[in-house]
């Protein structure tokens, strides 16, 4: 009887220890986002209880020191800045992706893609600073300044993700349409873009999520006046900038109200990501 085949001193003890350690680490990593939600909720509750959800939209405006907590002007600002930035970034971003894939000679495409990657790595505070010293003198602290800077910042996101989804379009589709005599633009418009539709939509959604969450750049160029914007040249304050500006000195209810706005941001971005995930039916690389 070969006792050496019995599972006595199994090196698998190390394996068991390992997998439990890994499980612990993974649980820690997974738990962070839950922790964030929990903290946001805990800190938001005082405001929700004292102020009540309705007043966040019905008060006169946002004068926290006089107990007025209407977030609507800031939400509108966030929304408009985002919409404007997306309106600019989509054509520029998709155009860049198409340029790299189908129109540019190889070395130019490579250099261009590298440039976009560099653009993607520039910190938001540098964009904001540049906007402050170069753009703002031209268009004043305003909504349009925010839109332009934000468009510049989310352009790489759109371009790189769109580029990746264009790359996934099967070659046979392209060869087939070429064989049918389609022109380059015809092919793009009728075959390639529809085929890459999922990925392109994902790129837009992720860019929107990034735009809504952006703080520093809009803080530095938009003027930070709490008001409903009536024109592109009006200074505005986004929800994110608001938190950044007032966190330092906010107390009690005011501070709690800021957490409410943070919670709102997280929920909105969360919904966007869920939408993107649902569209691309799986993991997406945010």
């Amino acid at each position: 009887m070969t006792s050496s085949m019995r599972r006595d001193s199994s090196p698998w003890r190390a394996d068991t220890a390992l997998i439990w350690t890994l499980r612990l680490l993974a649980a820690a990593a997974a738990g962070i986002v839950l922790l964030i939600l929990v903290f946001l909720l805990i800190e938001s509750i005082p405001a929700l209880r004292t102020i009540g959800l309705v007043r966040f939209f019905s008060d006169a405006s946002w004068y926290p020191l006089s107990d007025r907590f209407n977030m609507a002007p800031m939400m509108a600002a966030s929304l408009l800045v985002t919409v404007g930035a997306i309106a600019l970034a989509i054509p520029l971003g998709f155009g860049s992706a198409l340029f790299c894939r189908y129109y540019a000679p190889r070395w130019i495409a490579g250099a261009y893609r590298r440039m976009i990657e560099v653009l993607a790595g520039i910190p938001s505070v540098v964009f904001g600073f540049w906007g402050l010293v170069v753009l703002v003198p031209l268009v004043t602290h305003s909504l349009i300044a925010g839109i332009l800077i934000l468009a510049l910042m989310i352009l790489p996101t759109v371009a790189l993700i769109a580029d990746a989804s264009l790359a996934r379009v099967p070659e046979e589709l392209i060869h087939g349409s070429a064989a049918l005599g389609l022109t380059r633009w015809g092919m793009i418009r009728r075959v390639i873009l529809p085929a890459a539709r999922c990925g392109l939509m994902t790129s837009v959604i992720l860019a929107v999520a990034r735009a809504i969450g952006e703080t520093m750049a809009v803080l530095m160029v938009c003027g930070n006046v709490v008001q409903m914007p009536k024109g592109l040249l009006d200074p505005v304050r986004t929800l994110t900038a608001n938190i950044a500006l007032e966190m330092a000195y906010a107390t009690d209810t005011h501070r709690s109200a800021l957490f409410v706005s943070g919670l709102l941001l997280m929920v909105i971005v969360g919904l966007l990501i869920a939408m993107a995930e649902w569209i691309s039916k799986g993991r997406i690389y945010a």
Partner: protein, 279 residues
């Protein structure tokens, strides 16, 4: 003295080299009604076979009839495959390998496996050999050095690589890599060797060298070779097992000595396959 005890005394364990070319005709592995299914699809069904000690058994048949899966179930590598269900029994030295209380690590040391595509680790040649030894508790520097040289000599690689033992194993040619994998398994002093189409990824010359090596193992090790190369099977096998797909699963059609199967096959299918009419 039983083989178990002789091993413990530390004598080199090559008892049959002086004996007749093969074999004791005593079964070392007894497989009974073995079946393996992946998520419901049977790779092979109901295989019953005895593998004889010290002999080279060739498993032949066209691709897709479960030969590789069969090999993998013998050293329980099938445990690694998700959704894999195995039924039946595999008795190695009178003990059913598939029971839960079996030490799989020890099993896999004693039943070594070589894969179709040579898979040396991304380490130096020396490390490829010392790493498994280390993991199995053989850490004495002198012992390790001896085993490394022994195994490399055994596969004819020593003279070719003795000056560059610290070079990357992946810089070797395909044939050398496969021989290194063989040496790596031999260093653990297995009793049975499972070879899954060891020559099919190699060029003809390397293939010939590896084949000669395998033939040389006769008597010292029990070897089970899966091959779709009938000529190779003719050259080296003592026993042959013929697999074929029937009813959507691989089945063992016929088994016997090489002479029996190749010259006087009993089953129609076997006859057709070995004469090249089918397959």
């Amino acid at each position: 003295m039983s083989t178990q005890e002789s091993r413990e005394v530390g004598r080199p364990w090559f008892p049959l080299k002086e004996g007749p070319p093969c074999c004791e005709r005593s079964p070392v592995l007894e497989v009974e009604s073995l079946s393996l299914a992946y998520d419901g699809d049977f790779a092979f069904k109901d295989v019953t076979i005895s593998i004889n000690r010290g002999c080279i058994t060739a498993i032949v048949g066209p691709s897709g009839c479960g030969k590789t899966s069969f090999l993998m179930s013998l050293n329980r590598l099938s445990d690694l495959l998700g959704g894999c269900k195995v039924s039946g029994s595999v008795r190695y030295e009178q003990e059913d390998v598939r029971e839960n209380k079996v030490d799989v690590i020890s099993l896999r040391r004693r039943v070594g496996m070589i894969f179709q595509k040579p898979n040396p680790f991304p380490l130096s040649i020396r490390k490829n050999l010392t790493f498994p030894l280390w993991e199995h508790g053989i850490r004495d520097a002198q012992q390790v050095r001896t085993k490394v040289e022994e195994s490399l000599r055994d596969v004819g690689l020593w003279d070719e690589v003795k000056d560059r033992l610290d070079a990357s194993a992946q810089a070797l040619s395909g044939g050398q890599q496969q021989r290194l994998c063989l040496a790596r398994a031999l260093a653990l002093k297995p009793e049975v060797l499972l070879l899954d189409e060891p020559c099919s990824a190699l060029d003809p010359i390397a293939s010939g060298v590896v084949e000669d090596m395998i033939a040389d193992l006769r008597g010292r090790y029990t070897v089970i070779v899966v091959t779709h190369n009938l000529a190779q099977a003719r050259r080296i096998a003592d026993d042959v097992a013929f697999f074929w797909v029937q009813d959507g699963a691989g089945r063992l059609i016929e088994t016997g000595t090489a002479r029996q199967v190749f010259e006087h096959p009993e089953h129609e299918l076997t006859k057709a396959y070995v004469s090249g009419q089918r397959g």
